[in-house]
């Protein structure tokens, strides 16, 4: 039952093959059985899930079920859930019970979707391995000595191990796509502003975007149908019509023009990784797509610009954690400054503090022009490179990550090595473009992800392109043997 996709579960529930309560209990049992090893959940809400499942079954009996009604999924612990702990992977929010629901949480509730629990993540979404979580690292289900990627590592691992058929993630520099790649699942970061950030704990506000993670592109389309849309409570949310993302999945991709940026396919790219990606792209050519070399001349500046923009916005956003209104407060503060400093010093982990420090420095008097302003200028150059590229191609492809999953502990002492895990994904966030990662085979028994980047608001095209190849291949159906 747990190997089924969201689309299959939706059809089974409609046909009455089983009830939402039955499938929800089945997933809860699997979580109980496997998650002590994987650590992919911070909170499992068994009681709430069963109540929601019963309500969904009643809704169906009343003839009011939609496609996602009764489907159990997991939510990243970055989304506020009313009455339930929302930690963002941090000691700072270990005691935080959210007084309200995030926009997408309310959307899923309205759709009748069941929430199994909240998934583990890098602290405040800052990390590429899930090792910065206050709740300990998540293990990669393909090999538990390895990281699942991050920051949406719990979301990726629970779908890969089939502890949930789908989950939500957030992506500021690759945090949906890189873990999707390292765990062998499908993940989509929509265009900036497509999904409301209301109630999503902020990391870098001009980059953050929520998206779906599941086995297939079709499942991501079903989830995005629930998630996308304008919300006036997020001033950067885009007021633009939301298409039915499932409607165009079966369109032909004959004539699709695929751009391969020469800056991503250099001699530095691991030849074995390149061979897997080349073979995946061949499948698209077989379906009638054509391949063209393109250039993104400023893309090498993505990581330098990102590690100013993101920390600067993080230092500003995380200034709200003051030990006064909610969250962690230190013991016996001697005065107000001591209260601020020790609550923040003890409540945040090392990586979060590292980024706050970089941001505070970059924004401090005398440095603004050299760092933040310069980074925003570079950002325009990177964006313009993409705009130009999309004059001649429809989508851009590359590996999602330069390597497959790495060992737990391998990069945790070296921040720069960790940051380079996102070298292919960060430019998409700086430009605000939609991007996907889909399974493209394995290398030494670990999954490889293919990244597909689309033009603004072309999520439907990305999902169509991914779906067509998933109809012709079986990489997305492969799952780790221990969790069959």
């Amino acid at each position: 039952m747990h190997t089924k996709t969201i689309a299959q579960i939706s059809a089974d529930l409609a046909a009455g093959t089983y009830t939402s309560e039955e499938i929800t209990r089945h997933y809860l049992d699997r979580i109980k059985e496997h998650d002590t090893t994987l650590n992919s959940f911070v909170t499992v809400d068994a009681e709430g899930a069963i109540l929601a499942a019963k309500a969904a079954d009643a809704q169906r009996a009343a003839g009011e079920a939609g496609p996602m009604t009764g489907v159990p999924i997991a939510q990243k612990d970055i989304f506020c859930t009313k009455g339930l702990k929302t930690s963002s992977g941090s000691k700072m929010l270990d005691n935080f019970i959210s007084p309200y629901d995030a926009h997408l949480i309310s959307n899923f509730k309205k759709a009748g979707t069941v929430m199994l629990g909240k998934t583990n993540m890098d602290e405040f979404a800052m990390g590429s391995s899930n090792e910065t979580s206050f709740y300990g690292p998540v293990k990669n289900p393909w090999n538990t000595d390895y990281v699942p990627g991050g920051s949406s590592g719990g979301s990726a691992a629970c779908v890969a191990a089939r502890l949930a058929p789908g989950s939500t993630g957030t992506d500021t520099g690759g945090s949906i796509r890189q873990p999707a790649s390292l765990c062998g699942i499908t993940g989509l970061k929509p265009t900036y502003g497509r999904v409301s950030r209301y109630g999503m704990i902020a990391f870098a506000s001009s980059l953050d975007q929520a998206g779906p993670m599941a086995q297939t592109a079709e499942d991501c389309a079903m989830m995005l149908n629930v998630m996308a849309g304008h919300d006036e409570r997020d001033s950067t949310s885009i007021d633009r019509e939301v298409p039915d993302y499932t409607a165009t999945l079966n369109d032909s991709i004959a004539g699709l023009r695929i751009g391969l940026p020469k800056e991503f396919f250099t001699k530095d790219l691991n030849p074995e990784m390149k061979a897997v990606i080349d073979a995946a792209i061949k499948k698209y050519e077989k379906l009638g797509a054509t391949v063209h070399e393109i250039s993104l001349p400023n893309v090498h500046l993505s990581i330098p610009a990102y590690y100013i923009v993101a920390p600067a916005e993080c230092s500003s956003n995380l200034s709200r954690f003051d030990g006064v209104r909610y969250g962690f407060r230190c013991e016996n503060p001697t005065d107000l400054t001591d209260l601020y400093k020790r609550s923040r010093g003890e409540g945040f982990g090392s990586e979060v503090k590292r980024r706050i420090m970089i941001g505070a420095y970059a924004l401090s008097a005398g440095y603004y022009d050299a760092f933040y302003l310069k980074a925003q200028q570079i950002r325009r150059l990177i964006r313009d490179d993409f705009v130009k590229a999309y004059e001649t191609v429809d989508v851009i492809m590359s590996p999602t990550s330069p390597t497959t999953a790495f060992k737990i502990g391998e990069r945790s002492e070296d921040p720069i090595a960790m940051y380079l895990s996102d070298m292919f994904t960060i430019a998409t966030n700086l430009a605000g473009l939609p991007g996907m990662s889909i399974p493209a085979g394995t290398l030494n028994d670990l999954p490889v992800g293919l990244q597909i980047i689309g033009n603004y608001f072309e999520e439907a095209r990305l999902l169509n392109v991914a779906h067509q190849v998933q109809q012709a291949t079986d990489w997305h159906t492969q799952s780790p043997s221990a969790y069959k």
């Binding site: 706050i356 970089i358 150059l381 605000g432």
Partner: protein, 102 residues
Amino acid sequence: MSIDIEKVANLARLTLSEEDKANYPTQLNNILELANQMQSVDTTDITPLAHPIEATQPLRVDAVTEENQRDLFQSIAPSTESGLYLVPQVINRAKTKETEKE
């Protein structure tokens, strides 16, 4: 370029562990060195990109849209009294002046 760790930690209102104090100087300078690769490109006359979609901020009517939920919000605060958030005393103490001089 070298970053004054103590000064920045104070600006950011953070105490640092001994381990972080030992590691941060090298780590933060390495990150800034990485960021400095940006200086290799001439960006004269390039308008900074603040919003990726270049959308303008929407305006709304200046009317109350949120209801008062003070009690709910204060139910998760570390310390409150009579609807107020409690913090250590900040006035009438000589010590406070020293703190503010930092």
